[in-house]
Subunit: 246 residues, 2 copies
DNA sequence: CGCTCTGTTGAGATTGCTCAAACCTAGTGG
DNA sequence: CCACTAGGTTTGAGCAATCTCAACAGAGCG
């Protein structure tokens, strides 16, 4: 079902040397500051590759391994006993997975890969110790959860108080924004691996309704989709619909 | 509009001495552990009383004052430009207000009193310093945001993936649970100061619909409401509807 | 007594859902 | 290279949950 897990990264994977990792400046542990930044390698357990639908973190369990998503997309979610699913947020390259493991608490949600992913894995305990020893890093943990609160409140406003069209437009705009900030956008083409059912489960809608709504946006000429990516044709219109921010 | 703010607590207010505060063991800064627990008083700026609808924290601003809610209820919310409101969660006695101020970050939401409240106020900077100096307290901050994530994900599941009845029942059960844990429940009577519009704004519904749904529960004999409080008449039935947990 | 806030209720409109079938596309195995 | 499959998208028809608008009633307050 899921692509076999390879133990070592090859072509285009993360470097052995965290200090020169292209993602280093975005990562939770931040840019290599002091000379002793190689503490990271000492703690890093391995790079790995997984296919779609691989579960990296299980809700309720204390993550023993934590990860930086090096390439590919993932998402955080909860599954109800009857199969209903709520997606909390999507993870892009550079995002950290399993931060609860750093402070020894059970994960608030499961995390699953949305595409093929390359991960940099660390032992949760050990990395947690590294974080505790450094003031800057300690603060990063706070900020991580703070940021998480911030995206959750945003999503809650969407789901609780905005129409389907508003929600979808805002999700699209948000993803464009985040993809841009990671340098994933070239030539106006924004990577967009989400299936309509992911959008539905993130926004509290039905995939059927998502389909109709998106097609309306498409027919209106505001946006174009192609094989895992999208192009925003009329940003003004979209911002108008989404209410810019607030 | 809002009751005048008194500078000093009188009858039944918090003691001068944080060490013997009845709420001490629930509070964010935890029970008085070591002998030097009086650091708190040194940092505490004042007790105060506010009427309904007093804004304690403004979204987007870094809280300069932080509080422990000593008595009364409050809620965290966001207001859209067009007046739509999303409530994120309700605050009970013992809850901390403005934790973002401890780490010098802007508040993710506004906080407003739902009833008359008594607050223990602290200077955010100073209390933040106290927290940083102590390992246990440092961890409390993490846990605070972690908990916040946990309630937000819970609410998001409700709003995104459950029916109106399910949501309302779960909110009621959750509030009973929390009120109980703070010793606010006596004689099966659970304090319930929320107006139907608060329920609506927390659960992504209309107050009209909340009204009809609640009345159905009432007519079914599952629950009773009276002047700011409620009694659960048939817990089994409610748990059945709410899906216990998960 | 006259407000204001909240809760109630009715009637009708809508958004978004359910069910179901058809269709596409990429991947798989022969 | 083709048939087949699995996962996703699209579309239609009908329905249900929830909303909107509006009016009224009851409680508490100055």
């Amino acid at each position: 079902m899921t692509e076999a897990t390879l133990r070592c990264c090859q072509n285009g994977g993360p470097p052995e040397d965290c200090m020169h990792c292209p993602l280093r400046s975005i990562a939770l542990y931040g840019p290599a500051v002091d000379g002793k930044s190689d503490t990271l390698e000492r703690v890093r357990s391995s790079g790995m590759v997984h296919g779609t639908r691989h579960i990296m973190v299980r809700e309720g369990e204390i993550p023993r391994q934590v990860f930086t998503l090096f390439s590919g997309w993932a998402f955080q979610f909860h599954l109800l006993p009857d199969g209903r699913r709520q997606i909390f947020s999507f993870l892009l390259p550079g995002d950290f997975i399993g931060a609860e493991g750093l402070i020894n608490l059970p994960a608030n949600y499961s995390v699953q890969s949305l595409t093929r992913v390359q991960l940099c894995g660390f032992d949760a305990q050990e990395l947690g110790r590294v974080f505790q020893e450094n003031v800057e890093l300690r603060e990063r943990i706070n900020e991580h959860f703070y940021d998480e609160v911030s995206v959750l409140t945003g999503r809650l406003i969407d789901v609780g108080r905005r129409t389907a069209t508003e929600r979808i437009v805002r999700l699209i705009l948000e993803i464009e924004q985040r993809a841009k900030s990671r340098g994933l956008v070239s030539d106006q083409t924004i990577p967009f691996p989400l299936r309509q059912t992911h959008i539905a489960d993130a926004l509290g809608l039905t995939s059927v309704h998502v389909n109709r709504t998106i097609n309306a946006l498409r027919r209106a000429g505001h946006i174009t989709f192609r094989r895992g990516s999208m192009v925003i044709e009329n940003r003004m219109a979209l911002q108008e619909i989404g209410g810019s921010s607030a």
